[in-house]
C-alpha cells in the first residue's frame, strides 16, 4: 500500500499551487502525476510517486549514502584487521 515508485519528471504542464502536475517516466512507462506536494521538483528530477501523487524529490547526494556507509564499515574492518 505504501509502495512508492521512483520516476523522472519529463514535463510539467500546470503550475497551479494544488493542481501542479506533469508527465513522469517510470523506466519508460509515462504517467500523469500530481506534483503539488513537491514544489521544489523540476524537469529532470526524480520523485517518489505513491497512488498518482509525488511525495518527495529524491536527493542525489543522500542517494549515495548507502554505499558510503558500506565502504566505511569495510574500512573499519580492515583497520581492525591491521590492529589485529
Amino acid at each position: 500500500m505504501c509502495l512508492g515508485v521512483p520516476g523522472k519528471i519529463l514535463a510539467i504542464s500546470d503550475e497551479g499551487t494544488l493542481s501542479r502536475h506533469g508527465r513522469v517516466s517510470f523506466a519508460g512507462i509515462v504517467k500523469d502525476v500530481n506534483l503539488a506536494y513537491v514544489p521544489e521538483a523540476s524537469v529532470g528530477d526524480y520523485v517518489i510517486v505513491h497512488v498518482g501523487v509525488a511525495i518527495s524529490r529524491l536527493q542525489e547526494a543522500e542517494a549515495r549514502q548507502v554505499f558510503a556507509y558500506l565502504e566505511q564499515m569495510d574500512e573499519l574492518r580492515e583497520l581492525d584487521a591491521i590492529r589485529g
Partner: protein, 369 residues
C-alpha cells in the same frame, strides 16, 4: 531502473550481511513496521542472510489488513446500493467482511471499480454526475495526502456526487500500542520510509526516548533494509535508543510540510479500531468540517452494522508480531489467497500472503511437522 537497481546489488548485500554478522553479539528482535518491507524481506530472502540470533518480526503496516470488519461491511452495504459506483484499491476487493467481499457485491450486479489513485475516483465523479461515486480511503500517512487532495478538489469544484469511506490510520500510535503491551518482545524498529517521507520523524523521537527503543527510518530496497538492520543492531549493542534516518534520499526530519499542511486542513485525529488489534486512541483520521459532507458513512447512513471475524484467524497475533504466518494451523490449508480467512492473506503487503507466495514449501513442512 534508476534509484531501484543499484539498491539490489548482490555483492553489496553480501557485504552488508557480513557487517551485520560482525556487529551482532547478542540475540535481538527487530520489527519492520511496513508490509512493503515485509514483502521485500521475504521476496529477496533478506532474513536468510541474517545471523540466527537476529529475529525480524513483521509489523502491522498493512492498511488493508487492519481495516476493521465493520468498515468492510459498511463498504459492502454502500457498494450494493443502486446508483453507486464504489471505488477501491484492488487489494480491498477480496478482503472478507462478515458476509462476502466487494467481489461478491460486484458479481451480484453492484458497480465496483478498482482505481489506482483517489484522484481517479474524483475523475469518475466528474464523468458520472448521475451516479454517487464513493472511494474507500484506506492507508497510512503515505496515502492520506492523496485522499486529502481528492477531497480538497471535490470541495473546490462543488462536486456533490463524490464521497469517501475513510479508514486512514496512523503509525506512531500503533508502535506505542505494541511497545506498551506486556507481551512485547520487540527491541528495535525499522520505521516505514514512505510514511516518514510524509510525516517526518520528530514524532518518533519521544517514543524512542520513552521506551528506550532504537527506531531507524528505513527504505524498501534490499540494501536499504540491510543497512537499516545494521544501524538498529549497532544501537542495540551500544545501548543507544535514538531515531536515525537510513532513507535520507527521500525523508527529511520535518517530512513533507506541504502534504502535512493539507492533512491538517482536511482531517482530524480520531480513535480507531484496528482489525485484529483492537481500538487504539488517536490512531485514525476522519474528515473535519467543512469536508465532512464528503463522509460516506454520513451520506449513506450505514450505522449499526454488526461484524464478526472468523474465529480461526490469528491475524491479530500476526499483526502484532506475536505469531508468524506459518505458525497458524489454517495457513495454506483452510486459508489461502483464493479463500482467505483474514485480510493479511489477501493484501500483497500482508505477511500471510508474502509467506504463502514465497515460503510455502518450507512453511507447509513446518506446519505438518
Amino acid at each position: 531502473m534508476r534509484f531501484v537497481d543499484e539498491y539490489r546489488d548482490a555483492a553489496s548485500a553480501r557485504a552488508f550481511a557480513r557487517a551485520i554478522e560482525r556487529v551482532t553479539t547478542k540475540p535481538w528482535v527487530i520489527m519492520e513496521i511496513c508490509g512493503g518491507q515485509t514483502h521485500a524481506i521475504v521476496k529477496f530472502g533478506i532474513d536468510t542472510l541474517l545471523p540466527p540470533s537476529l529475529t525480524l518480526v513483521h509489523g502491522p503496516g498493512c492498511p488493508v489488513c487492519v481495516t476493521p470488519v465493520e468498515l468492510v461491511d459498511k463498504a459492502l452495504a454502500i457498494a450494493a446500493r443502486e446508483g453507486v459506483i464504489f471505488c477501491s484499491f484492488g487489494d480491498m476487493l477480496r478482503v472478507p467482511g462478515t458476509r462476502g467481499n466487494l467481489f461478491s457485491v460486484k458479481s451480484r450486479g453492484g458497480t465496483v471499480q478498482t482505481v489506482y489513485s483517489p484522484l481517479d475516483a474524483l475523475r469518475l465523479a466528474r464523468e458520472h454526475p448521475d451516479h454517487q461515486v464513493v472511494f474507500f480511503a484506506v492507508g497510512f500517512e503515505t496515502t492520506a495526502p492523496a485522499t486529502a487532495m481528492a477531497v480538497y478538489h471535490a470541495h473546490r469544484e462543488g462536486l456533490s456526487n463524490f464521497s469517501m469511506l475513510v479508514s486512514h490510520v496512523l503509525v506512531p500510535p500503533a508502535i506505542e500500542a505494541i511497545l506498551s503491551s506486556p507481551q512485547n518482545r520487540v527491541q528495535g524498529f525499522l520505521a516505514a520510509g514512505h510514511v516518514c517521507t510524509v510525516m517526518g520523524y520528530t514524532e518518533y523521537e519521544p517514543i524512542a526516548a520513552r521506551y528506550r527503543v532504537p527506531i531507524v527510518v528505513t527504505g524498501f530496497e534490499p540494501l536499504d533494509i540491510l543497512q537499516g538492520v545494521v544501524m538498529c543492531v549497532k544501537q542495540l549493542e551500544a545501548g543507544r535508543a535514538e531515531v536515525e534516518n537510513q532513507y535520507a534520499r527521500s525523508v527529511r526530519r520535518a517530512g513533507n510540510e506541504r502534504a502535512m499542511g493539507m492533512l491538517r486542513d482536511v482531517f482530524r485525529v480520531v480513535p480507531r479500531k484496528w482489525r485484529g488489534v483492537g481500538a487504539i486512541p488517536e490512531s485514525g483520521l476522519a474528515l473535519r468540517p467543512p469536508y465532512d459532507v464528503y463522509d460516506a458513512e454520513r451520506r449513506f447512513a450505514v450505522e449499526g452494522v454488526s461484524a464478526e471475524e472468523d474465529p480461526e484467524c490469528l491475524s491479530g497475533l500476526v499483526l502484532r508480531g506475536a505469531v508468524r504466518p506459518h505458525e497458524c494451523a489454517a495457513f495454506g490449508l483452510r486459508c489461502t489467497p483464493d479463500h482467505p480467512l483474514g485480510a493479511p492473506m489477501v493484501s500483497s503487503e500482508g505477511a500471510c500472503a508474502a509467506y504463502f507466495r514465497y515460503r510455502r514449501p518450507t512453511a507447509a513442512m513446518e506446519v505438518t511437522r
